[in-house]
Subunit: 293 residues, 2 copies
C-alpha cells in the first residue's frame, strides 16, 4: 500500500489509522510541490479527475457537488439576505461556483493560502473553477486565513456569511481549527451572520469535534449547530460542518431561505428538506457534540 | 491490490469498479468455504473483528450498529404493534438483537440460507449474535428466503414486519432483489404490515434502485419509500432500504412509535429524529427513485 502504486491511489494517513480508500488510476496528470503542500491531479477509472493535497483526496469530479453544495447553501440559505461573503480556503473554486448561485451576494472575499491550488484547478477542473475567472464580485487574497480574518477592516462585523473550506488540521489548515480562529470569525461577522466551517467526520474525529464544540460554546455565538453531508470519497463517507450564528439564537436547521428556481434546477444534492435533515445526527454523535452546546 | 495482502484487506468488486476500501489486518481468525460462499473473519487494526462474505465486508464491530439498528427500528417503529416478524438473511444475528428490544414482538421467523454464517458469528461475534442463542421467540430456518416466503402458511398475510438483511445481488442473495420476491413479501404481510429490504447505495447503484422502485410501484403496496443510513465500512459509506407498507398509505417517515426507555438507552444510532431524517434524500437520489413511486 503506497500513495500511487500498482495502478491505484490509496489514501493512507495517521488521521484515519488502519483504513484506506483507494481509487483506480487511469493516468497521473500533474504533480507538484507548492510552497505549502504536495499537489497531485489524476484521472481515475470511475470518479473522473481527482485533486489530491498532501496525500488526501480534496475532490473528485463525480461527487464534489455533495460537499460544495452543502458547505455553501446551508449557511447562505440560513441567512435572510447575505450580501458580503468570506471564503477561507476553497482554492478549487467549487464553493465560489455555489455562492454565485445566490444573486443577493454582492462581494466575495476569498482567502486561499496556496495560489497554486487555484491555478491547478483552473487548468484541470474547469467546471469546478469556472467562477474563479472573470468574476467581478470576487476579491482574491493569498495569505493565512486566520491572519486574514484579524484585519482591522473586519473586526467589528463585516461579513454576513463566512465559509471555511479547508483541509484537515494537519498541514496548512491547522490554524483554522483553533479557538483563536473562531473568535476572529465571530468578530468578523455581522449581527445575524453565519459561520460554516469544515469540521471533520463524526465517525473518525468525534473527540476533536467535541473539543471544538466545547470552546466554540464559550465564544459569543448565539447558536451553534452541526450539519453533515454524505460524500463517498472523503474518509468514512461523510463530513460535517459547524454552523454558528452570531447575534440571535435562531436555529439554522429549519426554515431555510429558498434558492431561486434557476439555482434549484442546477444543484444536485441540496434541497430545503436535506438542509434541515443534515442537522439530525445519529444518537452517538448528537450526544458527544451537543453536550457542550 | 488483492483480497488480503501486505497486511491489508481490500474490498474489490465488479459491483463498485475503480474503488476499494481497505482495512489493516492484525490477524486472520477464520477462513472457510461454506456451501454458499467464502467466509473470512479477521481482527482489524482499528475496526475490531470483521466478517467478510465472498470478499465483501458484512460487518465490523466498530460500526455494525448503524446498519443493524436502522434496518430494524425503522420498520418496527413504523408499525404500531408488531407481534410477528420475519427476517430473511441476517445470519450474523445483529438484526435479531435489535428486534428483541421490542417487547411487543412475540415470534421471529428467521430464514438464513447459510447456517455457517450463524455458527461463525456465534464463535467470533458474541455481542452481535447474543440473541441467536436460547431465544424462545426465534424460529430458525435454513433455506432460500424467496422460496421460504412462498409457503402456504404465509400466503394470506402472516407477518407484521418483514426485514430483508441480505448481501448484494451477486451470489446467494440474488433472488431477493427481483419482483417475484417482493410479490411474495407483499402477500406474506398483514394489512398495515411493513417490509424493509436492503437496497444498495444511492451513490453506486441508483440505476438498480430506480429499476426496483419501478417494479415495486406496480405491486400492491400502498406506500413505498426509501431510507438510508451512513455506515463507513460499506462501499461509498452508506446503504439504503426500501420501506414499503401494505394496506394503508400512512408514510413510514413520520411519527414513528417510540422505543421503550430501556431500548432507547441501549441504541447507538437510532432516534425518532434520525428515523424521519433517514427518508430525506439528496436531490439526485430523490429524483431517480421517486419518479417511479
Amino acid at each position: 500500500m503506497n500513495a500511487i502504486g500498482e495502478g491505484w491511489f490509496s489514501e493512507i494517513s495517521e488521521m484515519w489509522p488502519g483504513q484506506a480508500a483507494s481509487l483506480k488510476v487511469k493516468s497521473v496528470l500533474h504533480k507538484e510541490k507548492s510552497n505549502f503542500q504536495d499537489i497531485i491531479v489524476f484521472e481515475s477509472e470511475t470518479y473522473g479527475k481527482v485533486l489530491v493535497l498532501d496525500g488526501v483526496i480534496q475532490l473528485t469530479e463525480r461527487d464534489e457537488f455533495a460537499y460544495q453544495e452543502m458547505i455553501t447553501h446551508v449557511p447562505l440559505c440560513s441567512h435572510p439576505n447575505p450580501k458580503r461573503v468570506c471564503l477561507i480556503g476553497g482554492g478549487d473554486g467549487g464553493v465560489i461556483r455555489e455562492v454565485m448561485r445566490h444573486e443577493c451576494v454582492e462581494e466575495i472575499y476569498m482567502c486561499e493560502i496556496d495560489e497554486r491550488v487555484l491555478e491547478v484547478s483552473k487548468a484541470f477542473f474547469p467546471k469546478v473553477s469556472e467562477k474563479l475567472i472573470n468574476n467581478p464580485k470576487l476579491k482574491l487574497f493569498h495569505c493565512d486565513g486566520a491572519e486574514f480574518l484579524k484585519r482591522e477592516q473586519f473586526k467589528s462585523g463585516f461579513f454576513d456569511v463566512i465559509i471555511v473550506d479547508c483541509s484537515d488540521p494537519v498541514g496548512p489548515a491547522e490554524s483554522l481549527f483553533g479557538r483563536d480562529f473562531y473568535e476572529s470569525a465571530q468578530a468578523a461577522l455581522n449581527q445575524g451572520g453565519v459561520l460554516c466551517a469544515q469540521a471533520e467526520s463524526m465517525w473518525l474525529h468525534l473527540d476533536i469535534i467535541a473539543d471544538m464544540a466545547a470552546f466554540i460554546s464559550e465564544i459569543n455565538f448565539k447558536n451553534v449547530e452541526y450539519s453533515y453531508t454524505m460524500i463517498p470519497t472523503y474518509p468514512s463517507g461523510s463530513i460535517g460542518f459547524f454552523v454558528c450564528r452570531k447575534g440571535d439564537d435562531k436555529s439554522c436547521s429549519s426554515q431555510p431561505r429558498v434558492l431561486s428556481e434557476e439555482a434549484s434546477n442546477n444543484v444536485t444534492y441540496y434541497t430545503p428538506q436535506i438542509h434541515c435533515a443534515s442537522f439530525v445526527l445519529p444518537k452517538f454523535a448528537h450526544k458527544a457534540i451537543y453536550k457542550h452546546l
